[in-house]
């Protein structure tokens, strides 16, 4: 029944420094493409989460068995957090990991209302290389819909769990996933009047957390390069606020450009060859790019208003930014050379921190109106504004690489008697549903979501 053929696709992928991944497709033997039921439309408002059974992957030794459990746990948590899946409790599972190796009894899984079933195996060779296989079954249709195998070093299992989560997400939603990603953000600690801020990085699920700076120097607004290996951010090193580059692998920090004043609000261009930022001199902020290869500085705006928070469109042809040139903080777009400036927001209050979606279809922003802050999205032509969430203070949206989920930070007001200000990260679906706190060891702000890790 499960005599699956093994087709090798693609070759080696070098991951980080130590893990090499070999991905092969485990195709179903007799793939009669019956109409798959295991689909979800994530563009609709608030879809019913799909009930899915994620079984422990069967190991061929005790260590592999433990890894198999860990993998199932990571996948389960990822899919649950997406709001699109409802992982079923293992107590109701009708087959053990070992019995699944000899075949899936679809009728039994239907009894517990599972629509999807995830199974897998972990096998280790004496040299420590670990082969992880997984299969996704459409229980209703009674067939395998996806199967993949990866060979990694033993400590590579966590990344494989994220890659498997992305494969399941993609198969069911039709969209790329976003689980094999990292978050860089500002970790905050200490009292409100002497706040300590550190660069910190973690996997999107909060694992592998580490601090990149020690907190002695104020740092703000980190953003990933497209390669995910570098971060551009603002540092107050030597009391000179300037845009810096941080190499995650080497820890090397480098000031960007030679500007006669404060540089801030940096972001990479989509090809990673430029950083776009603001320069403030003599009370005026304009937008510049710095070419990282030639070190050439180019001025894009020249206006007495505040021009800041620039963000490239994914094709690099346009830039969205905020400016108060019209009297209050509003969003504008322009060509990448600074020409053809168009105002795109006209609503009440103020609009800031625009970020172009990786899909190109929307721009996320922070809006201040009345005594509240909002996170919203708008089309690049200025139509279709939607507000996703509101609070005393929410700010700084960042896109998941698939353009379906946003992360931002939320601060609660400082109470009386020195009650501590609190700042935390949250994620929310583009639909405005599924708002969740992203757990961090300390207070947190200024999140930036990485692209999918190459």
């Amino acid at each position: 029944m499960q005599a699956n053929a093994l087709f090798s696709t693609g070759g080696w992928r070098v991951v980080g420094r130590f893990i090499a991944l070999v991905a092969v497709v485990l195709a179903a033997g007799f793939a009669a493409p019956a109409r798959a039921e295991l689909e979800i439309d994530i563009t609709s408002g608030n879809p019913q989460p799909i009930p899915i059974a994620i079984t422990n992957f069967a190991g061929d030794n005790p260590n592999a068995t433990q890894i198999g459990q860990n993998i199932a746990g990571v996948i389960s948590a990822n899919l649950e957090r997406s709001g699109l899946f409802r992982p079923l409790g293992p107590a109701r599972f009708v087959q053990t990991p070992d019995s699944l190796k000899t075949g899936v009894r679809f009728a039994d899984w239907r009894l517990i209302q599972a629509q999807g079933l995830v199974t897998g195996t972990v096998s280790q060779s004496p040299d420590g290389r670990t082969r992880i296989e997984f299969r996704l079954f459409d229980v209703t249709a009674g067939q395998q819909v996806t199967g993949l195998a990866y060979t990694v070093q033993a400590d590579g299992w966590r990344r494989v769990a994220h890659i498997i989560s992305d494969a399941i997400y993609k198969r069911v939603t039709g969209e790329e996933g976003y689980f094999d990603t990292r978050i860089v953000y500002i970790a905050e600690s200490g009292p409100a009047l002497q706040r300590v801020k550190q660069l910190a990085i973690m996997d999107q699920d909060g694992q592998n957390h580490r601090f990149l700076t020690d907190g002695r120097v104020l740092v703000l607004t980190p953003r990933f390069s497209p390669s995910t290996q570098e971060i551009t951010y603002l540092s107050y090193f030597n009391n000179r606020p300037r845009v810096y580059l941080f190499n995650i692998d080497t820890g090397r920090q480098e000031v960007l450009g030679d500007f006669p004043g404060m540089t801030f609000a940096p972001r990479f261009s989509p090809d990673g060859n430029k950083v776009i930022m603001s320069l403030a001199t003599s009370g005026n902020s304009d937008i510049y790019t710095l070419d990282l290869r030639t070190r050439r500085q180019t001025q894009l705006t020249n206006h007495p208003g505040i021009d800041t928070s620039p963000s490239f469109s994914p094709d690099g042809s346009r830039v969205v930014f905020e400016s108060d040139r019209g009297g209050s903080q509003q969003l504008y777009t322009m060509n990448a050379d600074g020409s053809d400036v168009k105002r795109i927001t006209f609503g009440q209050g103020r609009y800031g921190t625009p970020v172009w979606s990786p899909r190109g279809d929307l721009i996320a922003f922070t809006r201040l109106a009345g005594d509240k802050f909002y996170i919203g999205v708008i089309r690049p032509d200025g139509t279709g504004e939607r507000l996703l969430t509101e609070a005393y203070h929410v700010e700084g949206p960042t896109w998941a690489p698939n353009g379906r989920v946003l992360m931002f930070f939320k601060e609660r007001p400082s109470g009386q008697a020195g009650k501590q200000r609190q700042a935390k990260l949250y994620s929310i679906d583009l639909t405005g549903f599924n708002e969740r706190q992203v757990l961090t060891p300390t207070d947190a702000s200024d999140p930036a979501w990485s692209p999918l890790i190459p």
């Binding site: 009047l193 703000l220 607004t221 606020p241 404060m262 009370g283 201040l368």
Partner: protein
């Protein structure tokens, strides 16, 4: 806004032109420390004239701004007039003007706003004759509040330009 600042600076320049106070130069000191205290021999305690403490206590080190504003109020210009006079008396002193914003704005906008505020102060002081070479500016945006609190009273005190004696 821009025009307002320029006209304000022009007025300030006129004011300076009319009253280039030669009598103040007599008390100018070199070295930023422990100048003889001609005005206060009778007072054994209190700030040392020419010191940062003297500046804070007897002159006033900060001015406040309206919400999302960077123009100087009459109260602010009165403070800055005193600052300029003091700085012209103690010519060895150099200063850093910090621009700050309240928490009711986005981080990057507030950095730009703080920079505007610091430069409003700098422009006013230099128009009164304080040498630009003695004046540095830095914006902290909303990163360094003076007062904890999510209310108008706290925000009012946090929207400030602070002249710090280096």
């Amino acid at each position: 806004m821009r025009f307002k600042i320029i006209s304000l600076v022009a007025v300030a320049m006129l004011a300076t032109a009319c009253s280039s106070k030669p009598e103040q130069t007599a008390t100018a000191t070199t070295g930023g420390t422990a100048a003889p205290a001609p005005a206060a021999p009778a007072k054994p305690s209190g700030p040392v004239p020419g010191s940062a403490e003297d500046f804070i206590v007897n002159v006033g080190d900060r001015v406040f701004f309206g919400f999302d504003k960077f123009d100087l109020t009459p109260e602010a210009t009165a403070t800055l007039d005193r600052q300029a006079a003091w700085l012209k008396q103690y010519k060895a002193v150099t200063i850093t003007i910090e621009g700050h914003a309240d928490e009711r704005g986005t981080r990057e906008y507030n950095l730009a706003l703080g920079e505007r505020r610091a430069n409003s102060v700098k422009n006013y002081l230099t128009a009164l004759g304080v040498e630009a070479a003695r004046v540095q500016t830095i914006s902290y945006g909303k990163e360094r509040p003076q007062v904890v609190g999510s209310n108008e009273a706290a925000w009012t005190q946090n929207r400030r330009g602070v002249t710090v004696i280096n």
